[in-house]
């Protein structure tokens, strides 16, 4: 008995007198990790539970599209750019096609623009719904995944019905969109651009998407654990965000009401009513919340567009062999991840002389060393997930 008490006293004295040593370690996250959305590697110095000096290592998926674009012609490049941000492949085509059309000074028929706009918003919904599924999963909540992916599948089905592809539609043509039926055959005169049941199915799907937004809000916004893991975590001040070129929902979550759909004229967004959603604090929670609201706004835009879509041709007159006149321009668009733009330099040939691809995720994750400085190790995952990047969009 006495021995035990002595031992206890001895141990308690030891544990009090010994200072807890936290030797600095290097923690390697990835390149294979569920929260990296591709292959991203983070090298962090860790002291206890805090991470310092986080260094993202990218380039595992670099496919050299900018070089490849120099040896491809314009219709072929549409296929390549689909693969940049594969979660919203359709949206990648828009700024590229618009840039080429701008240099060719083509007037695109309104119906084609409406179809592009509807599909772009669907791509945005699909991309944000994937975020709604994966982000809570990274924080340990599995249920929202099933709700979000179910509706995402509904949206992708619509996209597939029109374009023939769920992820890589390759649907845009210079001067319009691809005729879905009767293309390539000179005997068939009927060209049907949208499937017969598209309007009704879209109306139903948009109602379902709006419904699942309510469900997701109930599931996630009322969850104390998620709130504790995201509120006040990873705060991104607006002035830092703009200096790093962070755009899209990440920038709007920091309170900057900047939406390229409002200021650029690549698609007729001025015909529709929608709100630019902004957050208050710029933390992980706001980034989740802004994306949820944006799904709702996108559904509203699609509902309006379905009602107001004009009839008419879907393709402007273009020559058989596309040659883009000499010139250069920069066209940017509000993609689901942020500002996606193409700086297109043409020398009058069948392919670009130089195509600079400005992708949203590249700039969005360049903030990582800043935002992950001194955070807790589990928060690395929470913050990284909230930035919603895709490695195909980072590496190009």
């Amino acid at each position: 008995m006495t021995l035990d008490q002595d031992l206890v006293r001895h141990l308690s004295e030891v544990s009090v007198s010994v200072e807890l040593q936290t030797p600095e370690m290097t923690l390697n996250i990835g390149p294979q990790h569920p929260s990296t959305h591709g292959v991203l590697r983070l090298v962090a110095r860790v002291d206890g539970e805090r991470a310092f000096d986080v260094r993202p290592v990218i380039g595992y998926m670099h496919r050299g599209y900018e070089k490849l674009a120099e040896v491809r012609n314009y219709p072929q490049i549409t296929t390549i750019v689909n693969r940049i941000d594969w979660v919203a492949g359709y949206a990648n085509e828009i700024p590229f096609i618009t840039a080429a059309e701008k240099l060719m000074e083509l007037e695109v028929p309104p119906r084609a623009l409406w179809i592009r706009l509807i599909l772009t918003e669907m791509a945005r919904m699909a991309s944000h719904l994937i975020f709604m599924a994966s982000y809570p999963l990274e924080l340990g909540a599995q249920t929202p995944l099933f709700f979000a992916l179910r509706e995402r599948e509904r949206v992708l089905d619509l996209l597939e019905g029109v374009t023939g592809g769920r992820f890589h539609p390759n649907f845009n043509r210079i001067g319009g969109v691809k005729p879905a039926y009767g293309s390539g055959s000179q005997t068939r005169k009927l060209i049907q651009d949208l499937p017969k049941t598209f309007y009704e199915e879209t109306r139903v799907a948009m109602d379902e998407v709006l419904h699942v937004c309510d469900q997701l809000e109930d599931l996630v916004a009322g969850n104390e654990i998620i709130l504790a893991r995201t509120k006040g975590i990873g705060v991104l001040p607006p002035e830092v965000a703009v200096a790093y070129g962070v755009t899209g929902p990440n920038l709007r979550a920091s309170g900057v009401a900047f939406d390229l759909r409002r200021v650029e004229d690549y698609l007729p967004y001025d015909q529709f009513e929608f709100n630019v959603i902004t957050g208050q604090n710029g933390d992980c929670w706001d980034r989740w919340w802004v994306r949820l609201q944006e799904i709702r706004e996108s559904a509203r835009i699609v509902q309006q567009a379905i009602d107001s879509i004009p009839s008419g041709p879907i393709q402007a007159k273009v020559p058989k062999v596309i040659k883009v006149p000499k010139g250069e321009t920069y066209v940017r668009a509000e993609n689901p991840k942020g500002e996606m733009g193409y700086y297109l330099v043409s020398d009058g040939g069948q392919g670009p002389y130089r195509l600079k691809i400005r992708s949203a995720s590249f700039s969005n994750i360049s903030i990582l060393p800043w935002i992950l400085e001194g955070v807790l190790v589990p928060d690395i995952i929470a913050i990284m997930g909230s930035l919603d990047f895709v490695l195909g969009d980072v590496d190009r």
């Binding site: 043509r173 293309s183 000179q186 200096a243 070129g245 273009v318 009058g348």
Partner: protein, 218 residues
């Protein structure tokens, strides 16, 4: 014509300017005047060229005086007569150069300016923009490995995409696509020998057909 400094020359860019005053002309001229460069509007893109020694200074002015706080991208164009891949320039250049471009934007009205500067083709170097826009860091690393531009004052110009020890600068026009050196592009086979399209080479099968149908119906 929107050039604000008549003493500086803009040889091949002047023909691209539009004749009627573009709505952005006034804005373009005021930026050009403030940074001491010259402005051209090409297809709704305001492009201001500045001398290389005033590069960082010009971007600082743009950020502080014009509210162009959002760093969009920085990259380069290799204007070269010699090309290993792709079509060469229609008219050969008198002097080859590397054009550095950087687009910045405001976050209210969507005004954006693409700044551009000429760098020496063989030894391009310029002041870094990190102190002006923190986001320039990665973009400059990319431009460094892809074009071989040296950014003076950049803390870490290590490779971003390419493995360490990679030789050459892939986005230079003289850098060959090695896969194509070994074997010509297999896609060429697909577009040859179609009975209805004889005599038209280089046309993409799918895109060409879509356009063709449309044209014949109209």
């Amino acid at each position: 014509m929107t050039s604000s400094q008549p003493e500086a020359e803009a040889p091949e860019q002047e023909q691209e300017t539009v004749e009627a005053p573009h709505p952005l002309t006034e804005f373009a001229n005021s930026v050009a005047e403030a940074v001491g460069g010259e402005a051209v509007i090409t297809f709704d893109t305001v492009k201001v060229s500045v001398p290389a020694d005033r590069w960082a200074q010009a971007l600082t002015t743009a950020r502080d005086e014009f509210g162009l706080v959002l760093f969009s991208f920085l990259s380069a164009i290799d204007w070269s007569n010699e090309t290993a891949v792709g079509d060469p320039l229609e008219q050969p250049l008198e002097e080859e150069y590397i054009e550095l471009i950087c687009t910045v934007s405001d976050v209210s009205e969507g005004k954006r300016v693409t700044f551009s500067t000429r760098l020496d083709h063989d030894h391009p170097e310029v002041q870094t923009l990190i102190d002006v826009y923190a986001g320039a860091n990665w973009h400059e690393r990319e431009a460094h490995e892809m074009f071989g531009i040296r950014f003076i004052g950049h803390p870490d110009l290590s490779h971003l995409y390419l493995p360490e020890g990679f030789l050459g600068h892939p986005l230079r026009k003289t850098f060959p696509l090695l896969a194509r050196e070994v074997k010509p592009w297999p896609g060429k086979v697909d577009v040859e020998g179609m009975p209805s399209e004889e005599g038209e080479e280089g046309e993409a099968a799918e895109g060409g057909e879509g356009a063709e149908t449309e044209e014949e119906e109209a």
